[in-house]
């Protein structure tokens, strides 16, 4: 197996397992941690998780395909999520998403996350991010941009280049 898990990460995961009466419960938290570390969830990561938690690989793989946040391929270095749902749409979120796609040469009609060939950006249209009072909402990595504007988008683009 090509997967190399640093000892600190493994002990962090071992600690997580103790939070639950049944080991299987830790699988989502495992996938989050592995995705944070490797950038995506590889088949090796699925098999490693399954072995660690005493599961069949399919028990873990079916989570990766069910939950939208898990990725099976690497993301761009800057991950941009633009909210698509109603309150943000009313505030013009599709303009912002289109602007990102246009500037980066990505397909703004696609339903799936789009990554630039140089691996610098991934742009994704996502469902409600639960910050509708600050629409339109954009997440860049883990931070939330409230009342995002085209100028904000340009700043994100400049910072990620």
């Amino acid at each position: 197996m090509a997967l190399s898990i640093p000892a600190s990460l493994e002990s962090q995961l071992d600690e997580l397992v103790t939070h639950y009466p049944q080991k299987r419960s830790a699988s989502l938290m495992f996938l989050h941690a592995l995705q944070e570390h490797f950038g995506y969830v590889s088949n090796d990561a699925v098999e490693w998780t399954a072995a660690k938690l005493g599961l069949q690989p399919i028990n873990v793989y079916e989570l990766v395909t069910f939950y939208p946040m898990f990725r099976q391929e690497p993301l761009g270095k800057t991950h941009v999520k633009v909210c698509r749902t109603l309150s943000c749409a009313l505030a013009g979120s599709s303009e912002i998403r289109d602007h990102f796609c246009k500037k980066l040469g990505l397909n703004s009609h696609a339903h799936t996350p789009q990554t630039t060939p140089d691996g610098k950006f991934t742009v994704e249209f996502v469902e409600c991010l639960a910050d509708c009072g600050s629409a339109p909402v954009v997440m860049v990595g883990e931070s939330v941009l409230s009342k995002a504007s085209i100028a904000d988008a340009d700043r994100v683009l400049a910072a990620g280049r």
């Binding site: 938290m29 989050h32 989570l63 109603l86 009313l90 599709s94 509708c132």
Partner: protein, 477 residues
């Protein structure tokens, strides 16, 4: 004058108020927990005696607290359904999977006052003999998860959490569990499956009522973030005083999330039923009205799953007259008190208390197309009517909003929606259907006109002409 009443939000957004435990303690934090742990047993008139925990459970029931997540069910009754004789451990889960479009109230508590939630949870755990609890937080709130973990560590270090809390001899442990972007995890049995490490396929009820067969097939309480915070205030104030807030059967306060076409969107805490829908949208203390030159077209009153209300509607509501008799009175849309019962009386629901306002520049076809795409994306795929139907609705509306509609689409959409609702394991079927049924019923002429215009254009040989727009915004696809 209609005003905010800040009980849960009391300190949130105050200058200098930070989410750490020292700040919380300076503001009287964890006093309610001490008070709860010191609750004396209560003698009843029939000679029986309630244990301290039973006293708190009874007080939560007597306070009239109704769930703030969406269903508005009595929190005290929900607790009373818990199977306490099974001998199995009882679990408590805080539902922090805030995902209903339009809702952003729990986010404020989690990020700005996490200890308030933790205190409410520890009291609720103690009162229900729960030793192990989880906070199931949306995957999209990584900072919130970190803040909660930090707050839990602080609470543990101070003895408010962990073994033998405050020397009471009771153990309570709470862990944070992160979701991963699936709306269905807000449904309590879907959430439980997800917490067990599975796909979030909701369970069928009966037999899988969480109070009896929940997490690991053990009795389980699932409460919303805001609901659990209220427990703390019920302990502090006493059930009687708490119940004086709000209106009868709609007690306490509620944080309303206001978004869409208003000048001042935001979160506003009100006494339930003491402020009207119109005041929330127009009053200077709340939304401050619509943008210049615009008039009201429609209101989604309780999260995107609630049935839409049309400007100018008048509802017949039950009111108690001076002589105690129930009578029907006419209540115009904007005069509806914002509470559970009034909105139910108006044929919709206050749901997650999220109001989305749409002005006269908006196309109802396009707004509904946006919402239906959400439900098509979020259907978990377990039940055929929902998995297929939600997608058909989205496709039909996509077509209608892209210049390829038919006049008969209004009927077509209603037909599909009627065949989803009531035919699924969980309430997602209704959540996907109700927007469609209500939009098409109340704005039928708009849907038919759009379809008729497309038919006319096609008969002249012109191709599809229109892109999906929500008023002035550009293409979605």
């Amino acid at each position: 004058m209609p005003e905010q009443y800040k009980l849960i939000l009391k300190h949130i957004d105050q200058p200098g108020y930070t989410p750490d435990i020292e700040c919380y303690l300076r503001h009287g934090g964890y006093e309610a927990l001490r008070q709860a742990l010191a609750t004396p047993p209560r003698d009843l008139p029939d000679g029986k005696q309630l244990s301290p925990q039973e006293v708190v459970r009874e007080d939560v029931k007597a306070s009239g607290l109704r769930g703030r997540g969406g269903a508005g069910f009595s929190a005290g009754l929900k607790w009373s359904f818990v199977d306490r004789r099974s001998g199995k451990p009882i679990y408590l889960i805080c539902n922090a999977d805030e995902s209903e479009p339009g809702t952003f109230k729990d986010r404020q508590i989690i990020h700005k006052d996490p200890h308030q939630l933790i205190e409410g949870m520890v009291i609720s755990c103690w009162a229900n003999d729960v030793k192990l609890a989880y906070i199931y937080i949306r995957g999209e709130m990584p900072q919130g998860a970190r803040l909660l973990n930090q707050a839990l560590a602080e609470a543990r270090a101070k003895g408010f959490l962990g073994k033998n809390i405050l020397g009471s001899g009771r153990d309570v442990e709470i862990y944070v569990h992160r979701g991963a972007g699936a709306y269905i995890c807000g449904e309590e049995t879907g959430l439980i499956e997800s917490l067990e490490g599975k796909r979030a396929y909701p369970r069928i009820k009966p037999p899988y009522f969480p109070a009896i067969l929940g997490l690991y097939m053990c009795p389980t309480i699932v409460n919303n973030v805001e609901t659990l915070c209220h427990v703390k205030h019920i302990v502090t104030m006493g059930a009687g005083e708490y119940a004086k807030l709000g209106t009868p059967n709609n007690t306490g306060t509620r944080i309303v999330s206001l978004s869409g076409d208003v000048k001042r969107p935001g979160y506003y805490e009100i006494q339930v039923g003491r402020v009207t829908l119109g005041e929330l949208i127009y009053h200077e203390n709340f939304g401050q009205g619509l943008k210049a030159g615009r008039s009201l077209k429609a209101i989604i009153p309780g999260g995107s799953s609630s049935k839409v209300l049309k400007a100018g509607e008048v509802f017949k509501l039950n009111r108690k007259a001076a002589d105690g008799q129930m009578t029907k009175v006419d209540v115009p849309l904007l005069d509806l008190p914002y509470d559970f019962d009034s909105l139910q009386g108006a044929g919709t629901m206050s749901g997650s208390s999220a109001i989305i306002v749409m002005d006269d520049s908006r196309s109802m076809v396009d707004c509904l197309a946006n919402l239906s795409e959400f439900y098509a994306h979020e259907s978990c795929g377990q039940c055929t009517p929902c998995r297929e139907g939600a997608l058909w609705l989205a496709k039909g509306l996509h077509r209608l909003s892209h210049g390829e509609g038919r006049k008969a689409d209004a009927d077509y959409l209603q037909h599909i929606a009627q065949n989803i609702q009531g035919r699924t394991i969980c309430a997602f079927g209704e959540a996907a259907s109700w927007p469609v049924l209500s939009f098409v019923k109340k704005f039928r002429e708009e849907f038919e006109a759009r379809g008729a215009a497309d038919e006319a254009a096609r008969s002249k040989g012109a191709g599809p002409a229109r892109d999906l727009k929500i008023a002035a915004s550009p293409n979605q696809h």
